[in-house]
């Protein structure tokens, strides 16, 4: 990570740009990440939103944004960003807009759109070299409709559409690697519970041109079934247990930005959430717990 103005927590912005009063759930880990991101990006931005929980950030006549926003649809927010960016460039080039009126174009999407329906639009935007920032709040399921499993749901999690004893049978898709394989300007994972790491990444992304991505794991009290007060704690556990590696991709290289020294057992993270309760009661599902721990161990072994 290059030079940063965010060296200590005290360096983080104290005044917050994102307006209060949104209909997001109390304790929303996604909103936490978004407001941290917005503070650094600033209001000279236009957010192009995909369908998801944050569709409801702006409900007529209320918007939390001090800059601009365009709601599109679930699958095509990156294409909306393409249209806005291209139009801004055209208007600037033809002198029909003051250079000071230019905006940074930001896609805001949940994991449902990012890992699934919107993937081809995202891939297309990278292939066209679109100059934009893409923020995914990843709460590991279709949260806005009541937490059905998505391509981002972790193995074994109980969701509204995986209620059996083994939970979700699939495996969380590696979106970071899918995006990095396109060789864009920047990809990072982040989490609101690690604001300094997040701030540095937004700062980095802001300084680059081209397609830039931030995937923020977003603890979700409603969908993950825990007390809203635990959002930050659970987020920290995700990092310290190694479940959510904090890393970034730049110039063809992946760097881990926060390597947990002594990794906590994954079950320390799992047992905080109702969506994994069936792994512990009525009796411990050792096989499944072992499998989940094994996958995390294998990941960290592989990255050295």
């Amino acid at each position: 990570m290059s030079e940063t103005r965010f060296k200590r927590m005290k360096d983080l912005p104290s005044g917050h740009l994102l307006g209060s009063g949104t209909p997001m759930c109390a304790g929303c880990g996604g909103l936490e990440a978004l407001h941290e991101i917005y503070d650094i990006l600033g209001e000279k931005t236009v957010f192009v939103n995909a369908a998801g929980c944050m569709t409801l950030l702006s409900v007529y006549p209320f918007t939390p944004f001090r800059g601009s926003w365009l709601y599109t649809a679930m699958a095509s927010a990156p294409a909306g960003a393409q249209g806005v960016r291209d139009a801004l460039d055209i208007l600037l080039q033809k002198g029909r807009m003051a250079p000071t009126d230019d905006l940074e174009v930001v896609v805001l999407t949940g994991d449902g759109a990012a890992y699934g329906m919107g993937l081809s639009a995202t891939s297309g935007a990278i292939e066209r070299g679109l100059d934009f920032l893409y923020v995914c709040y990843d709460n590991e399921g279709y949260g806005n409709t009541g937490q059905q499993y998505s391509g981002a749901t972790p193995h074994g999690a109980r969701t509204a559409t995986s209620t059996g004893a083994r939970g979700y049978p699939g495996y969380k898709k590696d979106l970071f690697s899918i995006l990095a394989a396109h060789r864009p300007a920047y990809v990072a994972t982040a989490i609101g519970a690690e604001p300094l790491d997040l701030a540095r990444k937004v700062e980095q992304a802001k300084g680059l041109k081209g397609p830039r991505f931030i995937i923020a794991l977003s603890p979700c009290p409603t969908g993950w079934d825990y007390d809203p007060k635990d959002t930050v704690e659970i987020g920290r556990l995700a990092v310290r247990s190694g479940v959510w590696p904090l890393k970034e991709y730049r110039d063809g290289k992946v760097t881990h930005t926060k390597i947990p020294g002594a990794r906590l057992p994954v079950e320390d993270y799992l047992k905080t959430q109702g969506r994994f309760a069936h792994l512990f009661t009525p009796q411990r599902n050792e096989a499944l717990l072992g499998e989940i721990q094994g996958r995390v161990d294998a990941y960290w072994q592989a990255v050295g």
Binding site: P61, F65, W69, A98, T100, R128
Partner: protein, 415 residues
Amino acid sequence: MTRILLTGNRAAAWGARLARADYLPAFPITPQTEIIETIGSWIDSGEMDCRMATLESEHSMITAAGAAAATGARVFTATSSQGLLYGMEMIYTVAGWRAPFVLVNVSRGLASPLTLEPDHNDVLATRDSGFLQIHCATCQEVLDSILMAYRLGEDARVRLPVIVNLDGFYLSFTREPVETPDPAAVDGFLPPYDPENVRFRASAPLSQAVVVLGGSPYSYFRYESHLAALNALEAHEEIAEEFARTFGRTYGALDTYRTEDAEIVFVMMGSFATKAREAVDRLRQAGRPVGCVRPRLLRPFPEEGLRRALAGKRGVAVIDQNISMGKGGVLYGELASALYGLGQAAPVLVSFIGGLGGRDISAEEFYEMAAVTRSAAEQGTAPPPRLLYTLDELREVRKLQAIAHVERQGLGEES
């Protein structure tokens, strides 16, 4: 002003060029592709100052088109058939943004079965979206309608996107003489796009396309779009007058041909309507007072004009190049509702469905439709809707079915 031979597709590209479109989000699909290829080549040669972006789908293409219009650029895009349907969510969505742009649809029948040749089910699927619709019958009209569509969509009374429709093959790949207007005259007719307060600027924060909760605000916004679409009738009339003054070609919401003293009238949309004109001339030569009405605007629907044009006629043959499964011809239903309540002055409406998937309509069939309609008018009742389909065609299908090993035994047929 020069008169040159242009395909319908190239005429559409000329429309975009003369309208000085800033932005072309694109995706290839037959039979539209020549439009984006043509504009692409003009961009490459520097003849057109436009930016082109090939999106990865029509859904994305229409999103990008709407988003660029919502940012304040003049946008042109084009698609056909399956592409229009693939983008359908965004067709409805962007219309509500009240950010005008022009989309050319080159009509092609819809799957299934998949086909290449034209009918109007693709464009009619967008009927209720909030896009205005202009249907063209000649390559000249394609070019002219694009210029008019920008004026119409950008009119302060309207502010809606517009679809300009042309038929695949019959116009898209067919060259006809087209007058390409003088660019300076076009600039006078169509000034640069003023997005008013609908555009993204750092100095003026704007949240667009915002969700509403509750039926009341929803009803308000939706009905406002409807009122705007209705305003387009009056706006179109004014724009058409100015267009006629500037360029010498007149386009009404309805294109009427020899209807004044007609007793029987063909009503149909699109390029096949010129075939109806031809039939009208021949029928007139044979002493039959027949005319033709072609709605150019489908949305807004020129109801008053249709009532004026058709009140007092004896019979109307509505020829639908589309089919609504379980109902019949869409134009027939639209027209019947427009003419409802005319009482004694209401003509007998006879419904014909023809030209599906580009199936030709012969001169003899036009004559026969006039005769059937004439006899329905005399009897005062309409026969059931008729698909234009001959015994020979069914025999040909039977041959195809034999190759496809379709088992016809046990169907109660004579062998």
